[in-house]
């Protein structure tokens, strides 16, 4: 199998090169035979990489420890569930996974793209083949071949890092990779549009859904990553501004900006240069994120070990940025807007400010991530740009962005009149001010949280008003009951109303984030029967009674579990279990340091979060950390709502989600007053 896998990689490399050459040459010379060969090459690339992936999975499932990758990341007693994820749990395997998924997306792009955009496809095949070939090249020429064999075959493997043995880690990396990888398709279309000089809005229509797909996968990947960090790492939070987390956030922010500004191009033929730059930028940032993760240039708990692979990515990144810049600059004269901005009080302008904030936030995150390197390079001083600094810089920007989320939909396209603004803003502003007063009266004094809740209420007011007016209009016109009218709104204009659902998700996420300002925690040493008490900011007194320690063996680990009875204001509400896990191989040898499993009791108001720190002198007397995390449930629920909104936007069909540019007469609510005859 390792030999077959290596052969498949070499074959994929050659096919990828062929696909890239025939794609670009066929496109440039208009040769149908080369163009067809490029399309066929994408299929052959997929087949070769599928063979490589299957070979690696077979090696993993057969416990073929002669393969270094298999020996380094699995063991005989690793549960089957995690054997699957071993494919992408390490540097080499994840590169193979990346290349394979990219080749799958490349084929889908060729198959699913409508005939109208056929002119782009040879170049799309060329770009996707080139990028995939780069990844395969890294595997073959950098020391990153997943099929490299050991000089001997160990009896058992080293096993998988315990922190990766969590359901979150089975789904988080592939989702994030799917997001990262699928950005290559809109990027390929953008390059194709630049090369063919067909820079009207048509190419944008071809990539819009692909961008939503990427955005959705990245969103899911980020959310599952947050959940994994919360339940597995044990520090009581879900976002630590780690460089690798930041690297995933950057393209997400840029794509979010694109998904807003693309509407301006579709409706008004404006912002062509900007939208193209956003697509190119999102892809460059995805490669930059990969470089950060794999180079070890910045310390991160998530990153792969430091390796020369990073230099390959850096070289590729520099070459790609240079090529994109040259191509972009030479095509600028072809990217003139078809219309002009009529008023600064228009939705077009509000989208521009929304884009400014999203890109500003992306810059801010990038700046914070790189600032330690800049400081060391310029001043020779090593510094830490930690969580407090990131929060200090980014929370204000995030809050303004939340406010703009509510303002955008309230302003009319083209030009908003004063009367229109008054009418549109009345309800949402009232909701925001009302929420602010309620929380002030309730005693909340944290400025950040107050603004988050107040702006959140403002955005919810906006969304409610939009649904209410739309539903009322349908009720008047078609006599539909409210529930049916809302359903019809969603189904007939998925993009607009699905977008509003996404906005609700964002509000819920912000409310969850704000809740962390009210976290309370304490540590305690308890003998069985003893109780620790902690008052939450929800006003309740929570008590945790240590019931005892048990030890047992299961699957690939020895477990030490502490059981606690939990009471709220003296009334029992359940039991929590927190564990120490000592992972072992099939021979009973310890494979990693003992890891901690958090005990979590999740509720709408607070999460009770208990960590077993360890035992005192090997007795049942145990040290615990108790944390009360308010509103965390709303983060997961907000994420769920956001994904549902994204799926509604993405769902095929529907009158408003067709693939054509609306006629100019439909742009906005312009009314032409005919002169008297």
């Amino acid at each position: 199998m390792p030999l077959l896998g290596t052969l498949a990689l070499w074959l994929a490399f050659l096919v990828g090169l062929w696909g890239a050459i025939t794609g670009f040459v066929g496109g440039a010379q208009g040769r149908a035979d080369l163009q067809q060969s490029a399309r066929h090459a994408t299929l052959a690339l997929l087949a070769a990489l599928a063979i490589a992936v299957i070979s690696l999975e077979i090696a993993i499932f057969r416990h073929d420890f002669s393969v270094a990758y298999v020996a380094g990341r699995t063991s005989r007693n690793l549960p089957t569930f995690y054997l699957w994820s071993a494919l992408y749990s390490g540097q080499e395997g994840s590169l193979l996974f990346w290349a394979a998924v990219l080749s799958l997306f490349a084929v889908l792009a060729q198959v699913l793209t409508s005939r109208r955009h056929r002119a782009f496809l040879p170049y799309v095949a060329g770009v996707t083949s080139l990028v995939a070939t780069f990844f395969i090249g890294v595997m073959l020429f950098a020391p990153a071949n997943p099929f490299t064999r050991l000089p001997f075959t160990p009896l058992d493997g080293s096993g998988m890092n315990p922190q990766l043995q969590n359901p979150g880690m089975v789904f988080h990396p592939p989702m994030l990779y799917l997001g990262y990888i699928s950005i290559t398709i809109p990027f390929a279309f953008a390059i194709a549009a630049l090369l063919t000089k067909k820079l009207d809005t048509e190419w944008m229509v071809a990539v819009r859904k692909w961008t939503i797909v990427s955005w959705l996968f990245l969103s899911i990947g980020l959310l599952i990553g947050m959940w994994w960090a919360y339940v597995e790492l044990g520090w009581g939070g879900y976002w630590a501004w780690d460089p690798v987390e930041n690297a995933a956030l950057l393209p997400w922010l840029v794509m979010t900006a694109f998904l807003h500004s693309v509407m301006v191009q579709e409706k008004r033929g404006m912002l062509k240069k900007w939208n193209l730059a956003l697509i190119l930028g999102a892809w460059v940032l995805s490669i930059f994120g990969t470089f950060l993760t794999r180079s070890g240039v910045i310390a991160s708990v998530h990153s792969f070990t430091e390796s020369p692979v990073g230099y390959y990515f850096l070289a590729f990144l520099v070459a790609a940025v240079a090529a994109c810049t040259v191509l972009y600059v030479t095509r600028l004269p072809l990217l003139e807007a078809e219309a002009t901005l009529e008023s600064i009080l228009s939705r077009e302008a509000s989208f521009l400010f929304n884009n400014l904030l999203l890109i500003g936030l992306a810059f801010s995150v990038l700046w914070g991530t790189l600032f330690p390197i800049i400081s060391e390079a310029v001043k020779g001083v090593k510094i830490t740009y930690g969580v407090p600094t990131f929060n200090f810089v980014n929370i204000p920007l995030g809050l303004v962005l939340l406010l703009v989320t509510g303002i955008g939909p309230l302003i009319a396209w083209r030009r908003a009149s004063t009367a229109n603004l008054k009418r549109q803003f009345a309800l949402p502003v009232t909701a925001g001010v009302f929420a602010l007063l309620i929380f002030l009266v309730a005693g909340m004094r944290d400025v950040g949280a107050l603004l988050a809740f107040s702006f959140g209420a403002f955005v919810l007011g906006t969304v409610f008003q939009e649904f209410a007016r739309g539903a009322r209009a349908r009720h008047r016109q078609y006599g539909e009951p409210t529930w049916l009218a809302v359903f019809q709104l969603l189904s007939r204009n998925r993009r607009r109303y699905g977008g509003y659902i996404v906005h609700i998700g964002i509000v819920l996420l912000f409310m969850g984030f704000a809740g962390m300002a009210f976290k309370t925690e304490t540590e305690a040493t308890l003998r069985p029967g003893e109780t620790a008490e902690l008052r939450g900011r929800d006003g309740h007194l929570y008590s945790f009674t240590h019931l005892g320690i048990s030890q047992y063996n299961t699957l690939n680990r020895y477990v030490t579990a502490a059981l606690l009875e939990v009471k709220r204001d003296g009334k029992a509400i359940g039991r929590l279990r927190t564990e120490k896990r000592q992972h072992v191989d099939a021979l009973g040898n310890k494979t990693f340091e003992p890891s901690t499993e958090v005990g979590i009791m999740s509720g709408l108001r607070v999460d009770l979060y208990v960590v077993l720190a360890g035992l005192v002198n090997g007795t049942e007397q145990a040290v615990f950390r108790f944390t009360i995390n308010p509103l965390v449930w709303w983060v997961w629920f907000g994420g769920f709502v956001l994904v549902i909104g994204g799926l509604i936007v993405l769902w095929p069909g529907g009158p408003a989600t067709g693939g054509t540019t609306p006629p100019r007469s439909q742009a906005g609510y312009a009314v032409k007053l005919e002169p008297a005859q």
């Binding site: 002009t340 901005l341 400014l356 930690g386 009367a419 003998r527 902690l534 090997g618 008297a676």
Partner: protein, 197 residues
Amino acid sequence: MTSDGRMVGRADCTRREFFGAIAGVAGFLSQTVQQSDSQTGQVYDPARAGRSQTPITAADNDKSVQGLEKKLRCSCGCGLDVYTCRTTDFTCTYSPALHKEVVGMLGNGKTPQEVIDAFVAQYGQVALMSPPRRGFNLLGYIVPGIAVTVAAAVLFVVLLRWTRQARAAAPVLTTAPPDATPAELERLQRELDKLPG
């Protein structure tokens, strides 16, 4: 342990638990035990539970100690602050040592700022979770805000210029005005304003 760090026993002891405890004490006294406290007996294999812990002290839960430790970075390379690392990564040997150092310094009468200064003197600025807001480090704090503010101002000016250009380029209405009374036009405007977004 109460929310302010005070240990308490079980307050709501039921009758069964009470008699169970009596029976337990009787049993305890009647047998020859190798251990002084049956409730804190040895577990089967202590090594499976990780490194042995020392009981929590008042200093461990002291808010000022915790607040100070949240400003100091653990030197194990985890990227976390000392408090979070010592209460999360129980395999780390650095953060408990740094915690002892902090408690010791405070115990010796140093102010929090003196402790921070001592850490910076010993480990460099990298020991701080946030770089001091002065000199070159100030750029780390203000550049994003300034960039966004300047970009917003530039965008505003550019948009204003675009709208003026659009107005200047708009064709002048040379035909007769619409055949409608001012009242009708006002009514039309009101209807237009009612149109959603």
